[in-house]
């Protein structure tokens, strides 16, 4: 090939270009926010899956993480607060060929949307739920979430949090999820691999990703962005197959990461076809 100065000057293409709506960049996420890293991991896994990209759909709820659906160049749905999972349920049942990913935050999925989460897991709906857990309501300015630790200050718990946070993997396991994992946004390789695994599994897959919100959590709780990342590195331990009951988050004691559940159980669609469709029995 002849040397071409135009090509030489051109910046290399971003490896995820085909999966990003470039015309929607810049995104709204703050400096130091972890959502972008989780988003990239997710897109990398989608790309690596080798599956037809036109058969992926991403559904988000409301909140900072909920904006992911707006940046991904797939069929994507930015729905109402907490309702991504039931929307995804209808979408999946209407077209079972779709790989449906729900990408949203802890407030969206587990406070206002908590009921939908446990029921979709119980039904073993064949979707992948990716939850960016930043322990706070970021978009609205730092209010207490269902995941906020007792020790933390938020704008609505200015004296500390009287409520206990959810252990999300335990909740997912108890509700019937067939794939459950937890990583931090610092564990990019493990996370990417894990999302890929979840995408390849049928049934309800759930991955919790711990992720910093330096502006609305860190600032109020005297945690600098780098300190949070250091904590993710030093105060975590990978323990695959750990008992979900041990997975409460306490960074002083050490937080357990890994893949906790990976099992097979008939999905809603499989059961519906087998149990309900009389045509199957004829």
């Amino acid at each position: 090939m002849r040397y071409n100065s135009d090509n030489f000057m051109k910046k290399p293409e971003h490896p995820l270009n085909g999966l990003i709506r470039k015309d929607r960049i810049p995104h709204i996420w703050c400096s130091g926010c972890g959502i972008g890293t989780v988003f990239s991991s997710c897109l990398t896994s989608i790309k690596n899956s080798g599956l037809d990209l036109n058969k992926f759909a991403m559904v988000s709820g409301i909140g900072c993480s909920g904006r992911a659906a707006g940046y991904v160049k797939l069929d994507s749905f930015h729905t109402t607060h907490g309702r991504a999972i039931p929307f995804a349920t209808g979408l999946k049942l209407a077209n079972t060929d779709l790989n449906v990913i729900v990408f949203s935050g802890d407030g969206d999925l587990f406070a206002i949307g908590g009921n939908h989460f446990i029921h979709a897991a119980r039904r073993n709906m064949d979707i992948t739920v990716i939850c960016v857990n930043n322990f706070i309501y970021g978009m609205t300015g730092g209010q207490v979430a269902a995941t906020t630790p007792h020790s933390a200050i938020s704008t609505t718990t200015p004296f500390g949090n009287p409520e206990s946070p959810f252990n999300l993997p335990l909740l997912a396991y108890a509700s019937g999820a067939t794939y459950v994992a937890r990583w931090t946004m610092l564990h990019v390789r493990d996370l990417t691999e894990s999302i890929g695994e979840a995408l390849s599994r049928k049934g309800f897959s759930f991955i919790e990703i711990l992720s910093p919100c330096p502006i609305n959590y860190g600032r109020r709780n005297k945690k600098l962005p780098m300190e949070i990342l250091k904590m993710y590195q030093e105060n975590t331990i990978i323990k695959n197959n750990a008992d979900p009951a041990e997975l409460d988050i306490d960074f002083e004691r050490g937080v357990i990461l890994g893949k906790f559940i990976d099992k097979d159980r008939p999905t809603y669609t499989e059961n519906y076809d087998k149990i309900c469709r009389s045509t199957q029995n004829v």
């Binding site: 707006g70 930015h78 729905t79 349920t89 209808g90 209407a94 009921n115 809603y268």
Partner: protein
Amino acid sequence: MVKSAVLTGEYFMTGDVACAEGALAAGCRFFGGYPITPATEIAERMAQRLVDIDGTFIQMEDEIAAVASILGASWGGVKSMTATSGPGFSLMMENIGLGIITETPCVIVNVQRAGPSTGLPTQGAQGDMMQAKWGSHGDYEIIALAPSSPQEFFYQTIEAFNLSEKYRLPVLIMSDEIVGHMSEKVIIPAADEIKIVSRLGPKGRKDLFKLYAPGPGGISPMPAAGDGYNFHVTGLTHDEKGYPAMNVDTHAQMMSRLTGKIKNNLDDIIRTDSYKLDDAEFAIISYGVSSRTSMAAVDMARDLGIKAGFLRLITVWPFPDDQIRALAGDVKGMVTVEINLGQIHREILRCVEGRVPVHLVGHSGGTIIPPEDVVKMLKEAF
């Protein structure tokens, strides 16, 4: 086991069952619901029937999820429906708004019972008519039909699907416990005699596709997920591309399109019917089950020498302002008949603008209004 979507034949059927059969005849293949009296029978019938015709039924965890699921299914390319009553209808308001702003075709049935709150679960009313129009936040236009018999419940459900597919919005069927639980003769025609409308799909280059660019008649063609358009759908204010745009101009533009597709097509959408109205001196205006009261009242009044006629609203929303205005010039007085304390009555007062007296025959719900009450009003008020 029945395996046909259209059960051509003559039946003795409840309104709720007729509604389900109408949905199947219209091409509905997804039902996401939550049990509630007096709408449960619609879900039960759909659970029974959808499995045989390659459709899917799911009982969701609540009515919020029910509407979310039918919106998702609609974007999956499948005609979808849910059915509920007052308390569930209240929960549905959130995602009805999402359906409106994202222009998602689907049908939502409200078999009304008396409220507020748990109210009278097993007894009919028409008290959710204003909620149908204004229940979700923000401005919007909606289409709502009101059946007066099981046969009409069947046809209106088909009509509701056709309108929702044509105009791309959730269409409401505002029935009530009395029509829902009433058994009457229902004739289901042959499949080829039923007119079915389905959404237009996009054409042309996929990479240049704009999700909300106006198409034929101002309505945007709608792709399904998986078709390769890589579209983005959001409940935020959005531009033609479907991308969020947080500014006054885009919002005004979007709202004008969302409301315009209804307001500019009133002649196509509004359906009314009349009975002995041509020479009437007094007009009874009603809809849904109260139409039956009104029809009987016209005959009873005429036997007494009162020249009464009846205007029936088959679609209640959008409201037939022009028809009511014109009627106000033709009659000496009007009576609204509805099972509530005066909801559509206010709309009639608004259109009549004081030109003739308008009286309400209504009560707070639980039973049908006897025609004698309407005749009494005609005798005493005019």
